[in-house]
Amino acid sequence: MAVEAGTAAPAAVENDESNYLTAKSGLKSWALTVDHKRIGVMYLVSVIVAMFLGGIMALLVRAELMFAGETLMEADTYNQLFTLHGAIMVFLFIIPSIPAALGNFFLPIMLGAKDVAFPKLNLGSFYIYVIGTVFTLIAIVAGRIDTGWTFYTPYSSRADNAVIWMTLGVFILGFSSILTGLNFIATTHKMRAPGLSWTRLPLFVWGIYATSVIQVLATPVLAITLLLLIMEKTLTIGIFDPALGGDPVLFQHFFWFYSHPAVYIMILPGMAVINEVIATFSRRKIFGYMFVAMSSVALALLGFLVWGHHMFTSGMSEYSTMIFSALTFLVAIPSGVKVFNWVATLYQGSISFETPMLYAIGFLILFTIGGLTGLFLGILSVDIHLHDTYFVVAHFHYVMVGGTVFGFLSGMHYWWPKMTGKLYNEGLARVAFGLIFLGFNITFLSQFIMGSQGMPRRYYDYLDQFQPLHMTSSGGAFVLGFGFLVLAVVFIQSMISGAKAPANPWGSAGFEWMTTTPPHAHNFETTPVITRGPYDYHLASEEELFDGFPEDRAAQGAKA
């Protein structure tokens, strides 16, 4: 028996704290809550709204690009739309998506803790996120933001002053990210339940922990960079402006010193979710547990050493480019360790293909494509040709969407019953997956081809030869968009009329399934004592793996 608490909470007990959703009610009970689960839910709602906004912008961009020349909007509007799509998706959606929403909800539960180490700071992080979002929205209204999400100088230091609002927004969002990371590191170190050693830590926790380290160490560099950019625009301090002796390439170095590690802030949590899902739906211990855990840490560290590969054509010395190129190839090692270990986990596993698992398999395929095409870009000579083409766009969408978003959706489906206490329509969820997987590949495979033929990214107009591929890509984008619509129906329907979920609907050995559904306001009735690892199916009792309702248990008898 791994976790002694809450496995079979009698339904009859009148305890207002037995369900975090109903423990307190009213707007204030949400707005001022320090419960990590409620904060996680508030983040979840926020990031989904951000994703919706960013998604609409992506569809508008793709609609414009269906035909050469002006289709829907002027070039000016188009430039703003792709900028906002990038900025919103990166800063408001992907970076907080898995860590701040799902991580907030599940990290403390997986640790057997009552809450994160600093609950008030956690609520503070959320409001800092909200304030940052408000600034970002003001920027959209205040003027033209058409710098691209990277805010490269010298264009950004001369562009419309709305850029100040935008960068101030991102600056503030950064502190939300830093404080969340700080909270998770302290929680992982100090709040583990008795018996939960580092070698028993769920790999989701390892992944979020590695992410947090990057958040804390990389984000302040972005903060100072954006602050300098703001001061450049307001006080003309001459740090990035070449006319005053400043160096615009320094901005690129600073920016990527954060934004490359930020790529790992985005992908590591996706990988973290995949561990849990693959173990649960193969009923097996993750193959090479310690290698997978350490590969997250290795990625977090290597991520700090490769920023130069974004700047091969920006005028670095050739020795720097060679070193950055070599270091970039090193990233393939821990990534490869993960993919091979996941595949090895599937081998001879007792696999079932519920929706979370479908997304996990999708992740394996798409992330592998995204990762391998990254190696093309890391080769100096090839990068000269591919730099700033659609090949790059396709590459990072395969990693960010095929990796992180698929990881996020996998986690959403996997933990939905635990978070809401409701089941969703499995058939419709699979349809949504099919549409999303298909639409995504149509959209971005065609962009790989376009890019390799020389179609530059961010262009408003293009040569006729690219017409069929642009049309295909846009068509795929609409299939993808429709898939998300179906997905929305799945979740809304579940909230309104979904069947009640049992405590452990997937029969997982993971610790988060040991508490009631939805979880107790304090996560567990009593602090659990951990006696096995989260993937030790051979050590888990039948009671722990039981996937039905306690009241049906007697009737169904022992079930594995």
Binding site: A113, P119, L228, G238, A521, T526
Partner: protein, 238 residues
């Protein structure tokens, strides 16, 4: 712990911790992580400093001579002393000597205010004579005289003929951003220490519980530490 709702320890123990030691350890770890991110925040500025200094060594040399090293030295001593009183405040709060804690914290605040006063005089002078960053750089009046002296001091020979390194503006860009952000940290520190004094006077801290005083002092030491690097890098280069 048997029951999630029951009161399970001293008043200061928050409900989600098992023991006061766990609470203290978590706070301490969190604070060190926060300090690490502070250092990385400033690291960007230090990198910019070294790049521009290696590009424009003559401008940095002249610029350094334009700063008043005596004022910088006074501030260094003041800040070092305030770090000492902050450490003493932690000690006395650990011994449960409430009055002494307040006294040491008050001295720390006075030193911090003194630091800001000196900084104020330095800044207003620089603004007055037009020794400013980037496109605002426009020496006039006494500023020209100072510039003459600084150029002569930097080159040790050769008369000043009305020319100065163009990139002095970069030096002042770096100077104002670095000392400005450091000054902002001093101001925040003053606010936090005052808050600690209020809480201490209300009896919030005892021999058993004084974590916030400890954390505040850690923060204050970091503010001190950054200045220890800023002072020689800006005021004392040749």
């Amino acid at each position: 712990m048997a029951d999630a709702h029951a009161h399970h320890g001293p008043d200061y123990l928050e409900h989600h911790f098992e023991t006061p030691l766990q609470q203290f350890d978590a706070a301490k770890l969190g604070m060190w992580i926060f300090l690490a991110q502070e250092i990385l925040f400033f690291s960007g500025l230090f990198v910019a400093y070294f790049i521009f200094r290696s590009w424009y060594p003559e401008a940095f040399s002249v610029g350094s001579h334009l700063l008043d090293w005596k004022m910088g030295a006074i501030n260094t001593v003041v800040l070092l002393f305030s770090s000492f009183t902050a450490a003493m405040a932690v000690r006395s709060s650990q011994l449960g000597e409430t009055k002494k804690t307040t006294a040491f914290l008050a001295v720390t605040v006075v030193c911090a205010l003194g630091f800001m006063v000196v900084k104020y005089f330095e800044y207003t002078h620089k603004i007055h004579v037009g020794l400013l960053p980037g496109s605002l750089f426009n020496p006039q009046g006494e500023g020209v005289e100072e510039l003459r002296a600084a150029v002569e001091a930097a080159y040790a020979s050769g008369p000043f003929e009305g020319t100065y390194p163009y990139h002095l503006r970069s030096f002042f860009g770096i100077y104002f951003v670095m000392t400005g952000l450091h000054g902002l940290h001093v101001l925040i520190g003053i606010g936090v220490i005052l808050w600690m004094i209020v809480r201490n006077q209300k009896g919030a801290f005892t021999k058993d519980y004084n974590t916030p005083v400890d954390m505040t002092a850690l923060y204050w030491h970091l503010v001190d530490l950054i200045w220890i690097y800023l002072f020689p890098l800006l005021y004392l280069i040749d």
